[in-house]
Amino acid sequence: MGDEARAGDALRRLVEAQATYRRLASLVAEGAPPAELFQAFAGELGELLPRGVVAMSRYGEDGKLHPVGTWSHEGDSSGTDAAMAPVTARPGGQGPGRPAPGAGAEPASPGPPATVQVPIEVEGRPWGAMAIWSADAALPVDADERLREFASLMATIIANAGSRAALAASRARIVAASDEARRRIERDLHDGAQQRLVSLALALRAAEAKVPAEDAELRSELSAVADGLTELLDELRSIARGVHPAVLDTGGLGPALRALGRRSPVPVQLDVASGRYPEQLEVSVYYVVSEALTNVAKHANASFVRVEVAVHDRALHVIVADDGVGGARLQAGSGLVGLRDRVEAVGGSLELHSLPGGGTSLEALMPLPGS
């Protein structure tokens, strides 16, 4: 082969590898499930290499390799079905056997190899292995090199997918931890400060009841202090509710959202699907509706708000729509940005539709677990 031909070959391989990478990377970006990704990896490898079987395996917690994806040129009319059979169906026998984990290239017979296996290392740690079995007598001489390129490509994609999953999980944990902290603060306020203040107010009323009828001045002073304590309690109660809506724990979304509706200065029409949902979702729905109603009251100049919570396709759909002035935007500093972070942390999405003069609608979609 001349230099030009070799350069052409190298270029073609590079272009192919790039195209492969793009296809796989977009699958990863779309959040394809691992099993589907592995199949796609193996399939792409099968396309790049000669006819044969491709298998990928991953180290399990037992330290052994477990198959995660296999691929073969089934339907080929070459008549070499035996060599095409799934890897797991070939316990020894004729032809290329299954290579030992991490064994690297191991010729099944003298001459060019019919089987090649290379390790997959993700971020410096052994992750698994990729192997090809050729249906022909031998694999091309550069099969080992090409498989290594592919394994390294795949390691990058796996690492990216891992980072993405780790980021999403960490985001969800942060929101869950914050919810838990807020729930605890509300409970501490309720069980501690609020009970003590209530008790002090009652003790004052009890003292007031003992004041002789003729001492009107002392009576009114005690009464004023007790009234002040009661106002302070109202204030504390409203703070506690802002920290965590305890009514969610007791009655779920229906009573909690209807209470929000009653407090809204703009009339609210509520349509809430009955039933209980995971805590984190109920809290998220509550905050979406609460923030949206606050914005409607502050900015929308609306005469009417519609709040709808429904379940479609294993997901909670929340819509808060008003007939106000519109023109709202999701911008930095807006409570809506924090809300979007929260909704995305549970795997959902938040959208704002608000044309000037056309009212505002905020829509959130949150998948239910197991969907």
Partner: protein
């Protein structure tokens, strides 16, 4: 109100209204008992748990049971339901109390067998009697 018991605190001639307090906060139980007794009610028991509340309601037959909605790990709504379905206590008037907001809980109180709700800060012999008077016959 004066130092002498409020006349209104006597639902039956000569007999003050008897009540049982169920709340997991000891400091509240003490304050509530002092206040209600000073205002002329007779507090026949104070329970810290739903189970103890149920037991005392059966054995002491109070006119009114004041039940905190958040009873630690128990729910005051469950206790109200239990008292309403038990033949011994079914005639007892149940009033739910809480430091939490009335409008948050209104709907749940409505759905419970309790005759009504009192914010803890507004607890008094008068407010208890007013709810007792409004119970369904």
């Amino acid at each position: 109100m004066t130092g002498t018991p409020d006349r209104a605190a006597q639902p039956r001639a000569g007999a003050p209204l008897t009540c049982l307090l169920v709340d997991d906060s000891p400091v509240f139980l003490t304050a509530a008992r002092t206040l209600l007794e000073r205002q002329g009610l007779r507090v026949v028991g104070a329970a810290g748990t739903a189970e103890e509340g149920y037991r005392l309601a059966r054995s002491r037959s109070p006119d009114v049971v004041l039940v905190d909605i958040a009873l630690g790990t128990d729910s005051g709504f469950d206790l109200a339901q239990r008292l309403a379905t038990d033949a011994t206590t079914a005639g007892t008037t149940v009033v739910l109390i809480s430091t939490r907001s009335e409008d948050d809980l209104a709907e749940l109180v409505q759905a419970s067998p309790a005759v009504g709700f009192l914010p803890k800060a507004e607890l008094s012999a008068r407010s208890v009697l007013s709810l007792f008077g409004h119970r369904e016959p």
